[in-house]
């Protein structure tokens, strides 16, 4: 028996020369018959598992010492891409042919396995000798992975993939006069493309067969495809926002990119039917990763252009729609917020941009971001800087009110017509009534401090909330309305009444009550004027010139700028006095006080060589009337006569100088120009008043006065309680200072701005979040 055993080992060694570390083919190879006998003996002795293990062990050793090092030797860190291409090709070719030489050996092992009696526990043994072999090859190769192994792989695939992608185009765009091939960069008649594509597929096929494709070249191939995807996305999606790109991109992935994958995995064929399930799975996994990458790339591009997308909204709505879907699939909200904040800061919030443009951009941002994220969290995070910047601009409220009342189509005017109720964000809103069944959690990046107050309010509300109070807006509107009524002076109020009705639906009746009285004043003035003119005693006295008046209820109009009181010419003053008498007669116990500088005067001026019809302010009329009596005036003298400051008068004189009626002959001395010096002036020119300066005290001046009321309360509080955080101050003010009629409201943001200013003026100290009074 021992002899037989010894004999069998010799025979095994002869059948598997690898056991003696020899090259695969020895001279005295065992014949098929010899091997069949051996297999039979091995079966009888139940040695097949033993033989398999020992042979496999030796195969592993052989690969480790002789195959893997030879393979990796070729992986140089070379700069030469052509050399890299050749090296990788030959590395794969050599590896493949080396490993092919193991096939007879593997067949023999397979035979031994098939030949044995009992199948020893099938789970412990690899299903298939070839699979076991390939696993060993992979493991052994990868255990010796050199540092720069990707270098020649990159060279190979860069060249090959480029040619491959170009070979993909059914109609290659090689124009006639092109000397270089787009694919291989060789001269056209020398084109290597077909060859390269062949090598590309051959190499892939070999790697797939060895199951090395993904493990060895997966990274390189993926990053090359990524570059292709990136370029494609940039080419198709850059700078056009009015078309949705997601479906075209998905289609492109499904057709072009998928055809690449299928052809790579099938070694050149492009039909899926020929692919095994395993490969099809691999392709699908790959595709999913690429699809994710496609979305990520597209999202990034859209985020980079989000500022422009917002500015172009609503034309850019398709881009916003795309981005919304992308954000659900990718994790880029943080990037978006950071990016957009940065863009807003550098492109919008600086002194070079005027306030109406900032307001317009802000409105666009509100609309676009609400469309992007209906919870309002993105909007809140991104637009906070715009809000605080707008708060620092003096003309913000004015430009918002102006665009609210714009007659030409504007976003805000449209919003106003929608007529939703104003939602104030001062924390007082009771959202307990919300339907709890429809409750949705906030997105994870929501600011928890604001969570309970967040409501997706409409645009006008959002703008009003920049200051946290509607008082400023209502006051600004009142000033604007006053200016309009006083500059028109024609008793026509239809347009203003329409606006007021719209605003009342927004801000409520109470807030706009004053404005209602103002409009009623205009209406009443017309009636009173009619009554006065039909009064016989007034008519008996004969009007020197047609006179009418706008009669205001002083308590309801915003304060007027009245630094000085104009002294009108006597004939005018007498006429106005008569008007007052008539009014007193009509409305017993009431009288009128003229605002002499306000109003509108229609003059006809006859000069030696021309006649002028002109509408001017009372100041200008007064000036020119004085020149009727005396053709030369020193500024100072005239100033005394009409009770005006010289500086103001000098500015007013320029109007008549520009009309060619007056001339400054020497310093501050003006002379009437009876004869025209310029020939081209038409004698019947009707010239409009050039200045459109507001006659009202500015809204911010008025607000300042109101806030001073709070200041005395705040000083009192801080004297008693030492230091307080802003929320507490706000609460206390709401409790004590905002009671009773005519109470002033003050939102938290406005209060913060007010307090911060007091800090800058050293009237307050801020330490941590506590305000205190400086020690005096």
């Amino acid at each position: 028996m021992t002899e037989a055993v010894e004999d069998i080992f010799v025979r095994i060694e002869r059948a598997f020369p690898i056991l003696s570390e020899k090259l695969l083919h020895t001279k005295e190879e065992c014949t098929e018959e010899e091997f069949a006998n051996l297999a039979e003996d091995v079966r009888v002795l139940k040695l097949s598992q033993f033989v398999e293990d020992i042979v496999i062990h030796h195969i592993e050793q052989y690969i480790r010492w002789h195959v893997a090092p030879v393979f990796w030797e070729k992986f140089e860190n070379t700069e030469d891409s052509k050399r890299g291409f050749e090296l990788f090709k030959s590395a794969v070719d050599d590896l493949y042919s080396n490993l092919t030489e193991f096939l007879p050996l593997l067949k023999k092992l397979e035979y031994l396995r098939q030949n044995q009696d009992v199948v020893t526990d099938p789970s412990s043994v690899e299903n298939d000798i070839e699979a076991r072999f390939k696993l060993i090859v992979r493991a052994t190769l990868l255990s010796q992975l050199p540092l720069y192994h990707e270098c020649i792989i990159e060279h190979f695939y860069k060249i090959a993939f480029n040619v491959f992608c170009n070979s993909d185009n059914s109609s290659p765009d090689v124009s006639v006069n092109e000397i270089q091939c787009v694919g291989c960069a060789q001269e056209v008649e020398n084109c290597q493309c077909q060859m390269i594509v062949y090598i590309f597929h051959e190499t892939n096929r070999k790697l797939i067969e060895l199951k090395l494709l993904e493990r060895l070249v997966g990274n390189v191939l993926t990053s090359l495809i990524h570059i292709r995807i990136e370029n494609h996305v940039i080419q198709t999606c850059d700078k056009t926002f009015d078309v949705s790109q997601l479906i075209p991109l998905e289609n492109w992935l499904e057709t072009v990119v998928m055809s690449w994958l299928i052809r790579i995995y099938s070694g050149g064929f492009s039909k899926t039917v020929t692919l095994s399930d395993e490969i099809r799975n691999a392709i699908n996994k790959f595709k999913q990763k690429l699809s994710h990458f496609l979305y990520e790339t597209y999202t990034k591009i859209r985020i980079n252009h989000l500022f422009n997308i917002i500015i172009e909204y609503p034309e850019s709505q398709p881009a916003v729609d795309d981005l919304r879907i992308c954000l659900e699939r990718t994790d880029q909200r943080k990037v978006l917020i950071k990016n957009l904040q940065e863009a807003i800061k550098t492109r919008l919030l600086h002194p070079g941009v005027n306030t109406p443009d900032i307001v317009t951009a802000y409105i666009a941002a509100i609309k676009a971001l609400k469309h992007l994220d209906s919870t309002g969290v993105l909007l809140e995070a991104v637009t906070e800087p715009i809000k605080s910047y707008l708060r620092s601009r003096e003309d913000t409220v004015r430009s918002v009110v102006n665009s609210l009342l714009d007659d030409s189509p504007s976003e805000l005017a449209d919003e106003l017509v929608k007529g939703e109720c104003l939602q104030l964000d001062d924390g007082s809103a009771d959202d307990e009534t919300e339907d709890w069944e429809k409750w949705m959690p906030d997105p994870v990046d929501a600011d928890p401090a604001k969570s309970t107050q967040r409501k997706v309010s409409d645009i006008i509300s959002t703008l009003v909330n920049v200051y946290g109070s509607q008082d400023l807006f209502v006051n600004e509107y009142r000033t604007l309305l006053a200016d309009r009524l006083l500059s028109q002076l024609n008793y026509h109020t239809e347009r203003e009444i329409r606006h007021l009705e719209l605003l009342k639906r927004r801000f409520g009746e109470n807030q706009l009550h004053y404005c209602e009285v103002m409009l009623k004043d205009v209406y009443d003035s017309k009636r009173i004027d009619g009554n006065i003119h039909s009064d016989t005693s007034y008519n008996l006295q004969r009007e020197l010139f047609p006179t009418s008046a706008l009669i205001l209820s002083a308590q309801f109009w915003p304060p007027f700028k009245e630094d000085w009181k104009l002294k009108l010419p006597n004939i005018v003053q007498n006429q106005l006095n008569k008007y007052v008498k008539a009014f007193e007669a009509l409305k017993g116990n009431r009288t009128l006080c003229w605002k002499p500088h306000l109003g509108n005067v229609s003059l006809e001026i006859e000069l030696k060589d021309r006649k002028l019809d002109i509408n001017v302010t009372p100041v200008h009329a007064t000036i020119i009337l004085h020149f009727q009596d005396k053709s030369e005036w020193a500024l100072q003298d005239l100033a005394e006569v009409i009770h005006a400051p010289a500086t103001v008068l000098r500015r007013k004189m320029t109007f008549w100088v520009s009309q060619g009626l007056l001339k400054e002959t020497s310093n501050d001395v003006y002379v009437l120009q009876e004869e025209s010096t310029s020939k081209n002036r038409l004698s019947t020119d009707i010239v409009e008043e050039e200045e459109t300066e507001s006659v009202m005290a500015s809204a911010s001046d008025q607000r300042e006065e109101e806030l001073q009321v709070f200041w005395s309360y705040i000083v009192g509080m801080l004297t008693n309680l030492d230091s307080m955080p802003i929320e507490r101050i706000h609460q206390m003010l709401k409790m004590f200072a905002s009671q009773g009629p005519g109470a002033v409201e003050c939102g938290l943001p406005e209060l913060r701005q007010f307090l911060d200013r007091k800090v800058r003026e050293h009237q307050l100290l801020l330490s941590g979040s506590f305000y205190r009074l400086p020690k005096s």
Partner: protein, 84 residues
């Protein structure tokens, strides 16, 4: 030069001719309305007593209504009689 005024549109504010600025009852300016009214002037006129004090008509009426027995002026405590 001859300047002809073709028309003059002026701006004026109206006010009550009274010996005080505010109503002694509601403390609001006479030229504003009483707290119950929205529109000043014709809709919320003043009335004078023989004692020469005056009030928003709505204010003094409310005051007189609340006095059960005698009607006196809230300012000078003399008997209230409307000035003819």
């Amino acid at each position: 030069m001859k300047v002809t005024i073709k028309s003059w549109t002026g701006v004026a504010t109206w006010r009550w001719i009274a010996n005080d600025d505010n109503c002694g009852i509601c403390r609001m300016p006479f030229d504003a309305s009483c707290p119950d009214c929205k529109i000043p002037g014709d809709d919320c006129p003043l009335v004078w007593g023989q004692c020469s004090h005056c009030f928003h008509i709505h204010c003094i009426m409310k005051w007189l209504h609340s006095q059960q027995t005698s009607h006196i002026c809230p300012m000078c405590r003399q008997e209230w009689k409307f000035k003819e």
